[in-house]
């Protein structure tokens, strides 16, 4: 009994320690962003890997989520003879929650593991030591380009998710007599500039969080291939949980001011 209390205690301490390390890394990354050298080529490289590389999976998920979600809503709405409501409800659901959360989770899985694996391998093969040794700051050289790329990509990927999601809904709604023009007209009535803004804020926060968590886990990797694997797994688990947590916290904070309702 005493043992398990102690274990819980040390797990809590370790969790806090970890969170502190991630926040410090995030701070260090932000501080280094504005100062030269900018290393544009590294940023472009990351934009390609993180952004371009995620388009396929994000749009595919967006399309099917939109379609299936719309079909389910339509079945319910037909009973109420309110099929027309599908456009506003889908648009709201996609822009406020489905887009940010699912895009966040997809990128957390795909990029969170990639960053942790890459930096973890560099750590255990002494490449990060070598870089430091040659006078190049690993945070500036390795983390900053990834963070910048994520911050740029996340809102765009979210937009892609929302658009493909709406496209999926339109296709689902067609057989119910709702044509595309009508759908879009109804959809546009529902979107508010603040919804878009909240989406961007969330996605930028997710981007920074994913880069900080994954880079932190990678840079702490120890003990060969096994250690790298562990840090990649941890990175995916933590980034995914943090996407959910941040989404909730940001919504709690922003909804009252920007959307005029409390959650």
């Amino acid at each position: 009994m005493k043992g398990s209390v102690e274990n819980l205690g040390s797990a809590v301490v370790e969790g806090i320690d970890r969170l502190g390390g991630m926040l410090r890394l995030c701070g260090a990354t932000l501080r280094r962003m504005p100062s030269p050298p900018y290393r544009v080529r590294l940023i472009l490289n990351q934009l390609d890997q993180i952004g371009f590389g995620s388009i396929f999976i994000v749009s595919l998920t967006g399309f099917f989520t939109g379609m299936v979600f719309a079909l389910n809503s339509l079945n319910a709405l037909t009973e109420l003879q309110a099929e027309g409501m599908v456009a506003p409800s889908m648009t709201l659901a996609l822009t406020r929650e489905l887009g940010p959360i699912l895009t966040g989770l997809l990128v957390a899985g795909r990029t969170g593991s990639a960053i942790a694996t890459e930096l973890g391998t560099m750590r255990v093969t002494e490449q990060i030591d070598a870089m430091e040794m040659m006078g190049v700051d690993p945070v500036k050289y390795l983390v900053v380009p990834r963070a910048i790329a994520l911050v740029i990509c996340m809102p765009l990927l979210n937009a892609i998710f929302i658009f493909t999601g709406i496209y999926g809904s339109i296709i689902a709604a067609e057989p119910f007599g709702i044509n595309a023009a009508l759908f879009i007209q109804e959809a546009l009535r529902m979107v508010d500039a603040n919804d878009v803004l909240i989406g961007v804020i969330k996605m930028v926060a997710f981007g920074l969080m994913i880069s900080a968590v994954a880079a932190y886990e990678g840079m702490r990797a120890r003990g060969g291939a096994k250690g790298v694997g562990l840090s990649a797994t941890r990175s995916v688990v933590i980034t995914s949980l943090m996407v959910l947590a941040l989404d909730w916290i940001l919504m709690l904070m922003l909804a009252p001011v920007m959307l005029g309702f409390d959650l």
Binding site: Q127, D129, A130, M133, V136
Partner: protein, 245 residues
């Protein structure tokens, strides 16, 4: 000159170094011998501030490494080249980019492409590497990787070069080649070298001084002949595993 005094280091509650004293003189090659896990790599990383000791001090050319700020540390590392145990070539870059890295990224020297190429090729040629520019580290053999790492470590002509197990995993012929490269670097470039090794034969070939690290302490040090005659029991046992050809 590198002067280590009373250096202690633990990771968590595992003590690794228990008070290491070591003096590496300018222009000489000092070999640190010791078994696997003795803490040789850990000791070397203290010399350039990649690790910081719990107790004791490391002095390089009169400066306390532990007390340097970021700028001081960078200035120190500018004068030191290091070849890591696992070569530590950046595997996302070609051989050329790896060797050029200290010049283009670290010093950010503004060289024309042809000047840069000349310097990179000059460095590679010192270690008998030709036409390898566009290969990636994954395409190199272990021995070539070590030599590329050497070329990268000395491209900015450091006054001090640290070699972490340069010869482990190499065949005898390549080992001899690498040994002669350390001597080349010392003679042609006049560098102070610290070499980690558990290859006794190679240690006797290149060393001016040998230090024997065992269980966190330097148990014996001196010139190679002195070490060979030493009566220190752990060292005797360590050396007895090797028979000169």
């Amino acid at each position: 000159m590198i002067h280590v005094q009373g250096l202690e280091k633990s990771f968590g509650d595992r003590p690794i170094l228990l008070g290491v004293d070591l003096l590496c003189r300018t222009g000489e090659t000092t070999v640190i011998l010791g078994g696997s896990g003795a803490g040789k790599s850990v000791l070397m990383k203290h010399m350039v501030g990649l690790l910081t000791g719990d107790k004791g001090s490391v002095e390089v050319d009169g400066q306390q490494v532990g007390e340097l700020d970021a700028a001081g540390l960078r200035a120190l590392r500018d004068r030191v080249g290091m070849v890591f145990q696992q070569s530590a070539l950046f595997d996302s870059m070609t051989v050329f980019e790896n060797v050029a890295f200290p010049v283009t990224q670290a010093a950010r020297e503004k060289l024309s492409p042809s000047e840069l190429a000349e310097r990179v090729h000059e460095s590679l040629a010192l270690f008998d590497l030709h036409d390898v520019d566009d290969l990636t580290p994954a395409e190199l053999s272990g021995g070539m990787r070590k030599r590329v790492a050497l070329a990268r470590a000395i491209i900015r002509r450091p006054g001090i070069v640290l070699y972490d197990e340069l010869t482990t995993g190499l065949d005898p012929v390549t080992t001899r080649q690498v040994d002669s490269m350390i001597q080349t670097a010392r003679q042609k470039l006049g560098v102070t070298s610290v070499v980690i090794s558990h290859d006794i034969g190679s240690a006797f070939r290149v060393a001016d001084q040998i230090a024997f690290l065992h269980e966190g302490r330097i148990l014996a040090h001196g010139r190679p002949e002195e070490m060979r005659r030493s009566e220190q029991p752990e060292l005797k046992e360590f050396l007895s595993s090797w028979e000169p050809a």
